[in-house]
């Protein structure tokens, strides 16, 4: 019996070695072929172009950037941060909407159930690209024109050019406010740990959500007020109408809003299905037992059903998160300057370094995917260890 098995093992190893060799030869051949062809056409390969001046403007910049002084590397970073921002926000919103809809699909309330399944069916069956265009074109048309923006109490404006909010200036002493916000997040982590320990050791339960929310909002709020009292108030740049547009505040561009809304509502429909399947996978008796113990439906869900369902939810959820990041590259179709738009679109064309630019872009998406998968795997490990 051991003889044939070893033979199979050997053959498998041999085949795999051959495969790896074949791939290596192919990659090597392609690379040398490309290098030769490029050299023949007088194209200089390498990454030196990244330090050259970019010379073009970008509509949304999360880091300092100016056409005249910034480099192609800066342009790359601008695009990268724009991708990260849209993807991160898309993931958070998609998760919130997805869980709400998924839970609603199992609700005893007929209306909630009907609405939730209508949402899932409608959204899942229309291509994302179309949905992005609806968010970008149709929603924008419904807003007031740029000449007559709607004023929200004089503090913010909304029009077809987007939403402009007052912009707090966190330079100088005011950096304490974002710092307090970060401290709030750390504090929430600590509360969560205590809650877990309490649950594991059978001590009275510790509430997480309400104190968490208070910490995250209260700490920066206190810092803000404190700075004001100490004579270093946080400066606010108020938006005001200029000759063409509202200027001076913190603009939320329609391209950004459309991308985030499109990505999150689309992905939410898939997450809702994952959540529904996950919840259904938990034995019915669990929920019934919980209510027999006197827990409300909400408590039963939160304390008994969801923690068990997460085991089934997290792995497919991870692949949805990866999808959000990858789908965010559709941004190029609605003019949002994400990595693909800025780097593969403009920089590739202005520098003509196609191979380098495509390679860098692919590496970035690969790294983002691996990082997301890694974090989700960590979380998954924690979730699967929950024993109840």
């Amino acid at each position: 019996m051991t003889e044939p098995r070893r033979a199979i093992g050997l053959r498998a190893v041999a085949l795999q070695t051959l495969l790896v060799l074949a791939v290596a030869v192919l990659v090597y051949g392609a690379a040398t072929n490309a290098a030769q062809k490029l050299a023949k056409q007088g194209i200089v390969a390498g990454f030196g172009f990244l330090s050259r001046n970019a010379g073009f403007d970008i509509s949304q910049r999360l880091i300092p950037y100016a056409a005249a002084t910034s480099t192609y590397l800066d342009a790359f970073l601008v695009g990268l941060f724009n991708t990260l921002l849209a993807a991160a926000l898309g993931i958070v919103l998609a998760t919130l909407i997805g869980f709400a809809v998924g839970i609603a699909r199992l609700s005893p309330n007929l209306l909630a159930r009907g609405l939730a399944s209508a949402y899932v069916e409608a959204i899942r069956n229309v291509p994302l690209l179309l949905q992005l265009l609806v968010w970008y074109v149709a929603v924008r048309v419904a807003l007031p024109p740029a000449e007559a923006p709607a004023s929200l109490g004089g503090a913010a404006f909304v029009s077809q050019r987007g939403l402009v909010l007052p912009r707090p200036d966190f330079s100088g002493a005011a950096w304490l406010v974002p710092l307090a916000f970060l401290a709030g997040i750390v504090a929430v982590g600590m509360v969560r740990r205590r809650a877990r320990i309490a649950a594991e050791t059978g001590r009275p339960p510790v509430r997480v959500w309400l104190p968490g929310l208070v910490l995250v909002l209260l700490l920066p709020g206190l810092a803000w007020i404190g700075l004001g009292l100490a004579g270093h108030p946080v400066a606010l740049h108020w938006p005001a109408r200029g000759p063409y547009d509202v200027e001076g505040g913190l603009p939320i561009l329609p391209e950004f809003a459309a991308l985030v809304m499109g990505l999150s509502t689309y992905t939410a429909a898939f997450i809702a299905e994952i959540v529904r399947a996950g919840l259904s996978s938990v034995a019915r008796g669990q929920g019934e037992a919980a209510s027999a113990l006197g827990l409300s439906r909400g408590q039963a869900l939160r304390l008994v059903v969801i923690p068990q369902a997460l085991r089934a939810i997290v792995p497919p959820l991870t692949s949805q998160y990866l999808n959000v990041t990858k789908n965010s590259s559709l941004a190029v179709l609605i003019g949002y300057p994400d990595l693909v738009h800025v780097f593969m679109g403009t920089v590739l064309n202005q520098t003509n370094q196609a191979v380098e630019v495509v390679a860098i872009t692919m590496a970035v998406y690969l790294a983002l995917s691996l990082a997301t998968a890694f974090l989700m795997n960590l979380y998954n490990r924690r979730v699967t260890m929950v024993e109840r």
């Binding site: 403007d57 005249a68 924008r140 740029a146 738009h341």
Partner: protein
């Protein structure tokens, strides 16, 4: 994806482009996806325009048949990769000749159209000059000289603007028309057609000013001199024919009754000038017969008789106040 093609395509241009085109039986020509008057499919799906005619002229010279061309639309961002990867033989697509493109990407054998960057704005804005667009929002297409010129122009004048960039002209025009931008900036020649595509063309104007030089040139791969010559002389043949008074309408008659040695040389009645290009002696006659001279093509596609009504301007012949000047065929 262009890059994959670039990596795996057989080393196609180890062979000269002309030999390849002849062996294939047709020319593959990269054009823009829809710039009225330059390259746009008509209601029958036939490609029409000045840039299209240029490729038809090449096909006429090579095959004596202007239909032996396959047109592949290229976005601004993909066009150079398409040429380098061997997907197209020639790029005939309102592409501005710049030094960096010339050295890094391709060769530009000849300028076929002289243009400049302009602005399309709503009449209701009452804007008469580009300066008045200070602090305005401007829509444009990415991967173009347009984005670079705009940044320079506003900065050197201490003016500011907000940019929104898109990947193709359809999206750019859509955004402009729906009010996302105050102005739409691109080559003036393209704006004539873009304005006509709006729902109410008379609500929009093209500002008079041009803020840049945009010499359009066809593009070929570096390192293929015979092909580069052929592309350059195809344009010169159209210019020289116009200067010599040979048009599509009179070319047969001229060929029968030609006396001037200039005309005889162009029409292949004297000398064997086409052979140097790897073509037949009647190569230029073929071009004029099938496609016309430069003026014929200009009038047919963008001239006063078309909805675009682009003035001849810099594109008039050199002896009529323009810049179009063909070296002698001899």
């Amino acid at each position: 994806m262009g890059c994959v093609v670039l990596l795996f395509a057989t080393p196609a241009f180890a062979q000269a482009t002309l030999a390849q085109v002849k062996a294939r039986g047709h020319l593959v020509c990269g054009v823009s996806g829809g710039v009225a008057g330059f390259s746009i499919p008509d209601s029958q799906g036939q490609w029409r325009g000045l840039d299209v005619d240029f490729c038809r002229a090449l096909a006429a010279a090579i095959f004596d048949d202007p239909a032996k061309v396959r047109f592949i639309p290229q976005s601004s961002a993909a066009r150079f990769t398409a040429l380098q990867s061997g997907e197209i033989d020639v790029l005939s697509r309102n592409t501005t000749w710049t030094l960096s493109r010339d050295t890094a990407a391709m060769n530009f054998p000849v300028i076929t159209f002289y243009d400049g960057q302009g602005f399309l704005v709503r009449k209701a804005l009452n804007v008469a000059s580009v300066k008045q667009l200070d602090r305005a929002t401007i829509c444009l297409q990415q991967g173009t000289t347009t984005e670079l010129n705009l940044a320079d122009w506003f900065r050197t004048r201490g003016l500011t603007y907000q940019v929104v960039t898109f990947a193709n002209s359809e999206q750019t025009l859509g955004a402009y028309e729906s009010g996302r931008c105050d102005a739409y900036s691109t080559d003036k020649s393209s704006l004539y057609g873009e304005r006509l595509k709006t729902a109410h063309p008379d609500e929009h104007v093209i500002l008079d000013e041009a803020i840049s030089k945009e010499p359009f040139a066809p593009g070929v791969r570096q390192g293929d001199d015979p092909w580069r010559d052929l592309v350059a002389w195809t344009h010169y043949a159209m210019i020289d024919a116009e200067e010599a008074g040979i048009s599509q309408a009179n070319v047969e008659e001229m060929r029968r009754s030609a006396l001037s040695p200039d005309v005889k040389r162009i029409l292949g009645l004297e000398g064997k000038y086409g052979e140097g290009l790897g073509l037949t002696t009647d190569w230029a006659y073929r071009i004029v017969r099938h496609v016309g001279n430069y003026g014929d093509s200009f009038e047919r596609n963008v001239g006063a008789g078309t909805p675009l009504k682009i003035p001849r301007g810099l594109n008039a012949l050199w002896n009529q106040g323009g810049l179009q000047y063909g070296p002698p065929i001899r």
